[in-house]
């Protein structure tokens, strides 16, 4: 086919549609790469803000598993794990090749009445280049059924039907893993395009003209035949969460796609389900019943234990336990441990309601101190009369917040009644666990965990993991750095079952706005030692600062207690700054020395949602050279937390954590110690409480 005839074909696809332009709301759909687009090509569209998708596609001998996240209205990113089978068809060697890639896309223009949506994208921007391409794509909606996309691609997307190299030749990838910016938009550029036709809410037809020649798969490896640049397909949206696609690709292949599409902003169940709270109990008017307001109860010796018992009974229904109760005639301070409710504000609201039932009428001020790991995270002070008067008011959440103060937790009053039944407290559980190292690779097993709260702030905990099934491929580390992370395969192989952790931790409040942690023991499955941390975080501050210092020895791979295999010990430490940018965007900067002795810095950005979803990315650059680091050049990856309550609408604070890296290396590695301070306490500071403050009345 001549370039001119290809262009004609492209135009034909576009002009085949006769429809009056109109403004229409049709959000973009996902392609075989798990990115917003047509079939194999991207488009100018974006997903709805905060959409999280998990896509699996099969294209003959190629499998792609992709996680994508619309980080903001315009910016989105993907993490992809791609496998090529029959890799040895033409060239002897491994039968299977796999590659991880990271994409970034930015929508330059939102679709307007006349202007199309315009997106610029970088595909596989840091990999070894197997999938690297760049593009600009424009998409215009016609009516409410038709979308037309035209774009220009470089790299793989410029490999067929090129129209010249407007920005010069494309140099080879060197070194692999670092952002290959020298290559971006270099080399041959080629046009691509296509049409989407939405038959109805469930069915969509797509046709596209691809500019990807599949040089690697067809010419070099003989995995598939690319006979034609045209792809056709049909997609079926089963419900808001699931989308299926079936395609004819390149005149020779059949492809399937399956997408799970999640909206972290809206619970799968539509709203938080769970029992209604107890109504606020109104006090009798002082004039009517002056006796009820008498403060004489304070001096009764048995008042304290009775009040605590009654309060504990009411709070138990919400999974809240009392750490401490202190009172005077007009003020009560209760220190609570919130075991179940995912929103700090709701736990506070439920506690306040319970206090309104239990405390004598003379008590006007409720001080509620949420306690995390034995230390006070903040103090929320609510006036009882505000609680009574606002319960049924319009916009009661805003009105109550204006009258509530959130301050440093301070220390428990000296006259407070501890709970002699609370410490020591032993808890244990045996639960199934999924540990994923790639979107579709990992293991499942059982984890036996136990925690022993010795005294406030003193926690002894441990866990043992036994694998049941795994689909991980064993790998051998060739790293020239100390193998502080890359022997993970050995730890999986020999450490089954393994003692994952056995630690004694001490949490404290050395002064106002200061939080401290010291952890001692088998801190994680590869390293043991001592880890200390101090955090400065005023309750209403967007900024927090921390320092961490660790001394660790590398553990044996058998998951036991020994240190014989490695003879490796190291002091690591960081100075950290945390900043809450608002609207759920958190940034963190750590500067210090990493496990392999390398010195550098980590930057991470997370988007957190009030319901507990968390999606972020991190990158670490240290003085380890890209060659020493190995594949990937420097450490980076994506991480996410999906809370169970989002999926089920029930009260639970537990979630599912995932970390994905394009390549694991020994450079830029940090100790995985539990209960780092910032995450533990932020929920009860104003930046954690305010976004979903409305749940105080839930």
């Amino acid at each position: 086919m001549q370039p001119s005839s290809r262009l004609f074909a492209l135009l034909a696809l576009g002009t085949a549609l006769v429809s009056a332009p109109a403004l229409a709301e049709m959000s973009g759909t996902l392609n075989l790469n798990g990115a917003t687009g047509l079939i194999d090509m991207p488009s100018g569209d974006a997903q709805k803000d905060a959409t999280f998708s998990f896509s699996t596609s099969l294209i003959g001998p190629i499998t792609r598993g992709t996680l994508s996240f619309q980080f903001s209205e315009r910016l989105s990113g993907s993490f992809r794990f791609q496998t090529w089978r029959d890799w040895d068809t033409l060239i002897p060697g491994e039968a299977e090749e796999s590659d991880r890639s990271i994409d970034l896309r930015y929508q330059l223009l939102r679709e307007g009445r006349i202007a199309p949506a315009l997106t610029i994208g970088l595909q596989d921007l840091t990999g070894q280049g197997l999938y690297a391409s760049e593009y600009v794509a424009a998409t215009k909606t016609f009516g409410d059924k038709v979308k037309v996309t035209a774009g220009l691609g470089w790299g793989r997307l410029g490999s067929d039907g090129g129209i010249g190299a407007p920005f010069g030749d494309r140099p080879p990838v060197d070194p692999p893993g670092v952002p290959n910016s020298d290559q971006w938009f270099r080399g041959e550029a080629a046009p691509f395009g296509g049409v989407e036709y939405k038959v109805n809410d469930s069915w969509t037809l797509k046709a596209e003209y691809s500019s990807d020649a599949y040089v690697l798969e067809d010419d070099e490896r003989g995995l598939l035949e690319r006979d034609s640049p045209f792809n056709f397909g049909v997609e079926y949206q089963r419900n808001p969460y699931m989308r299926f696609g079936a395609y004819s690709l390149y005149g020779s292949e059949f492809a399937l796609a399956f997408h799970i599409i999640l909206d972290p902003k809206s619970r799968a169940t539509g709203g938080i389900v769970g029992k209604a709270p107890a109504p606020v109990k109104a006090r009798p008017a002082r004039a009517v019943d002056p006796e009820a307001w008498d403060a004489g109860w304070v001096s009764q010796p048995d008042a304290g234990p009775i009040l605590r018992k009654n309060l504990a009974k009411r709070l138990a229904a919400d999974g809240i336990t009392i750490e401490n109760l202190a009172y005077t005639a007009d003020t009560v301070q209760v220190r609570i441990r919130n075991g179940r409710i995912d929103a700090g504000s709701q736990a506070i609201g439920r506690t306040a309601r319970a206090l309104s039932h239990v405390m004598p009428a003379s008590v006007e001020v409720f001080e509620i101190v949420p306690v995390v790991n034995g230390i006070g995270a903040s103090k929320v002070t609510i006036r009882r009369s505000d609680l009574e008067s606002l319960e049924y008011s319009a916009d009661n959440a805003t009105l109550l917040r204006e009258r509530v103060t959130v301050t440093d937790a301070g220390t428990a009053p000296v006259w407070s009644l501890g709970d002699e039944d609370l410490y020591p407290k032993f808890r244990w559980s045996l639960r199934p666990v999924v540990r994923l190292s790639e979107p579709i690779e990992g293991d499942v097993g059982m984890r036996l965990s136990a925690t022993y709260d010795i005294a406030p702030g003193w926690v002894l905990s441990g866990s043992i993991y036994k694998e049941i099934a795994s689909n991980r491929d064993p790998s051998v580390s060739t790293s020239t750095l100390p193998h502080v992370r890359t022997d993970g395969s050995l730890y999986n192989q020999f450490g089954d079952p393994a003692l994952e952790k056995l630690t004694l931790a001490w949490f404290g409040r050395p002064a106002e706005n200061l939080y401290s942690r010291v952890s001692l023991g088998y801190l994680e499955r590869m390293h043991a030692g001592v880890s200390g941390e101090v955090l400065w975080k005023p309750v209403d501050s967007q900024l927090a600062l921390g320092v961490e210092l660790n001394y660790t020895k590398q553990r044996d791979t058998d998951g036991g207690l020994g240190f014989d295999e490695y003879d490796y010990d190291i002091v690591t430490g960081y100075v950290s700054a945390y900043y809450d940018f608002g609207n759920g965007y958190l940034g963190q900067l750590d500067v210090g020395r990493y496990l392999a002795g390398d010195v550098g810095a980590t930057v991470s950005v997370d988007r957190v949602f009030a319901n507990g979803w968390r999606v972020g990315a991190f990158a670490t650059v240290t003085d380890v050279s890209a060659e020493e680091f190995g594949e990937g050049g420097f450490d980076k990856g994506v991480r996410l937390t999906i809370p169970f309550n989002w999926a089920m609408g029930t009260d639970t604070r537990r979630g599912f954590d995932l970390n994905f890296r394009p390549a694991t290396s020994d450079g830029g590695a940090r100790l995985n110690v539990d209960d780092r301070l910032y995450q533990s306490i932020r929920e009860y500071h104003t930046d954690g409480l305010d976004p979903d403050w409305g749940r105080v009345w839930r």
Partner: protein
């Protein structure tokens, strides 16, 4: 495909496993595997609004007599979205607000019969600025109605409507075997920005709302209320 099969096999293993321990936090892992696919409505449909199913067959008069024997006010609530009908009793009464509760812990709070809050239904109405009965009777006089919800990501959201009532006429209605002479008033509301309309229907008997059909939230739509026992 091999990877996928193994991953699926792993999930299946998980689904079969249930955790144990004395840690009372719920064990959602096994449930989570299947629960994601279900939508909220399915879950909500499982809720019982505290109906007396055996009594359905009985005559309205017998049922009313049985309800009256308890000697407390009863509200009949029925929701199409929840697929439930039930008789509710008062769990809280203060300052003109009655809160009606189902046995499984969902509540409806009404100020003089006008709905101002729900809890435990999922798509709850968190609070509302509503007209009084006197306002409803002032046909043709416009006023504002504001609904407050927990929107996406549990952030507080509001919907403001400009409303006006109109007289639909005097109607004789039957509530569980009793006939009531009521004034039927229709409240028509238009969203102040962004469009959107809704209507509420009230059947007012003297100073009280005998029966109503009131909008609750986007997820629940309208719910019917009838005051059976005063």
């Amino acid at each position: 495909m091999k990877h996928l099969k193994r991953a699926l096999a792993g999930l299946a293993v998980l689904a079969l496993l249930a955790g144990c321990g004395n840690d009372k936090t719920p064990n959602p892992m096994a449930a989570a595997v299947g629960a994601v696919a279900k939508t909220g409505m399915a879950q909500l449909k499982g809720k019982k609004a505290g109906a007396a199913p055996a009594a359905q067959a009985a005559s309205p008069q017998d049922l009313r007599a049985e309800l009256a024997r308890a000697g407390q006010p009863v509200l009949l609530v029925s929701s199409k979205a929840l697929g439930q009908t039930g008789f509710l009793t008062v769990s809280d009464s203060k300052g003109g607000v009655l809160t009606w509760a189902t046995p499984d812990g969902a509540t409806f709070s009404q100020r003089d019969g006008v709905l101002i809050q729900t809890r435990g239904l999922g798509f709850d109405l968190m609070s509302a600025q509503v007209p009084s009965v006197a306002q409803l009777r002032q046909v043709g006089t416009p006023y504002q109605r504001v609904y407050f919800f927990l929107g996406p990501d549990d952030q507080g959201t509001r919907r403001t409507y400009d409303c006006v009532t109109s007289m639909a006429g005097n109607e004789s209605i039957e509530v569980l075997g009793h006939t009531h002479a009521t004034t039927h008033i229709t409240e028509s509301c238009t969203r102040s920005s962004g469009g959107g309309k809704l209507t509420n229907e009230f059947w007012i008997e003297g100073p009280m709302i005998r029966q109503s059909r009131q909008w609750v939230s986007g997820g629940l739509g309208h719910i019917d209320f009838a005051r059976v026992i005063d």
